[in-house]
Subunit: 188 residues, 3 copies
Amino acid sequence: MRRPPLGGRFFDLQYANLKVGAAVTQHKIRMRVAIVTISDSVSRGTSKDASGPGVRDRCAQLGWEVVSEQVLPDEPVEIRGRLVSIAEGGSADLILTTGGTGIGPRDSTPEATTQACQKLLPGISELMRDEGRKKTSRAALSRAVAGVRGRVLIVNLPGSPRGALESLDAVAELLPHALQVLGGARHD
Amino acid sequence: MRRPPLGGRFFDLQYANLKVGAAVTQHKIRMRVAIVTISDSVSRGTSKDASGPGVRDRCAQLGWEVVSEQVLPDEPVEIRGRLVSIAEGGSADLILTTGGTGIGPRDSTPEATTQACQKLLPGISELMRDEGRKKTSRAALSRAVAGVRGRVLIVNLPGSPRGALESLDAVAELLPHALQVLGGARHD
Amino acid sequence: MRRPPLGGRFFDLQYANLKVGAAVTQHKIRMRVAIVTISDSVSRGTSKDASGPGVRDRCAQLGWEVVSEQVLPDEPVEIRGRLVSIAEGGSADLILTTGGTGIGPRDSTPEATTQACQKLLPGISELMRDEGRKKTSRAALSRAVAGVRGRVLIVNLPGSPRGALESLDAVAELLPHALQVLGGARHD
């Protein structure tokens, strides 16, 4: 997948302080983000993607590079397959999904994501729900998960435009560090 | 299963504001609750059910309709079977269990509930523990889970009378909304 | 395994108030702790164990008796086997691991611990992360779990010296009570 040239839209870079061994070094972290909107109605074309574009704009504000935007129906096998294929494709460091994290009969994003991941990061989900509950008690109903496949981080965001951004904001500071660790540095 | 006539003991109805699409509409939500006390000693008749009646009274205060009260021993296969049978029987929207959520050798309610559910709602468990910890650090030892089978919500409460009510109070506001979503409206 | 004589280094005993039935009784709880440092580099001898000795000293301050200190590489099968063997050996009431709880490619302590346990205690993990996040947002990346095998409690601590002690402090008050319950008294 082609990436936008430096100096283009995604020219901002992310910096993080990271301890490697005893020394504190500073690394440029390039966050390449794939956004996947998961919604039956958006996929069918009967409703507008209300959350994906907001997530894309927030990523741009964070200085992250959005490398793809896709829409999928609430079909767990399809979702899982796409997440695996993006994660193994090498073009993204972070996959952000939006939608399908609720308790409705068709919501299956968390299950599909769990199957696509080799490790889960329950603290990310807890953090998103904790922060969300400061805004609305309904955040407790989100079943969003986060995890790792290879060196790629996968994070579910809710499907409501506001919920998606609030969840992303809750963990945005943490994700560059997580990706740095996944690249081989040790956190623990 | 017969339900009490309107105007009888359970005449109060629950209202919830719920976004459906762009419009905010108000729905009457009828909460039909099955209470299951899980305790070897209550089941054997060697101790009194200390938590079930308190849960029943709190449900009545909340305007929820208690359709059944049952007692089971701490036998995971039996618990799971009963939860599935109530959920599929169509007479209850919400199953509240009390007891068997601790770490003792016989406590098996969370495992049995997990097996009975098609989806788990970790945010409900986190909320009950978070709120519980404001009262006692021991709330962190509760392994209570919550989940969904079909359109029925299943929520574990601890077996101590106080813990059961505190856990129920922590999520009571959320449950009518969750059930509304399960009925087909979309939360996410 | 021999235990230090009373009056020696580990002479302090732990007391806990515990409700048994209706009466409040006070029990002496003897905490026998096995510490397992999990780190490839410490195991190879290429780096110093930075967290195990700190955990040992904190246990001594808490009046707990450290019965063994071991080092293992980040090998899940080996970790799981050792945890099971300690839990079934009868010489320890509590196993504290340190290290391997992060998201790096070799970190596998939580998975190995999950397999070694018969029951998980998600509230312990949540409590450690919640408390940790008051110090650093990176605590949310810890995947540490806690659980039970037989009557033995197994708790993962992070591998950073500060993180290990902060996590231990977050749950130290709770663990004697948990062990008392595991011994047969009912919490729930």
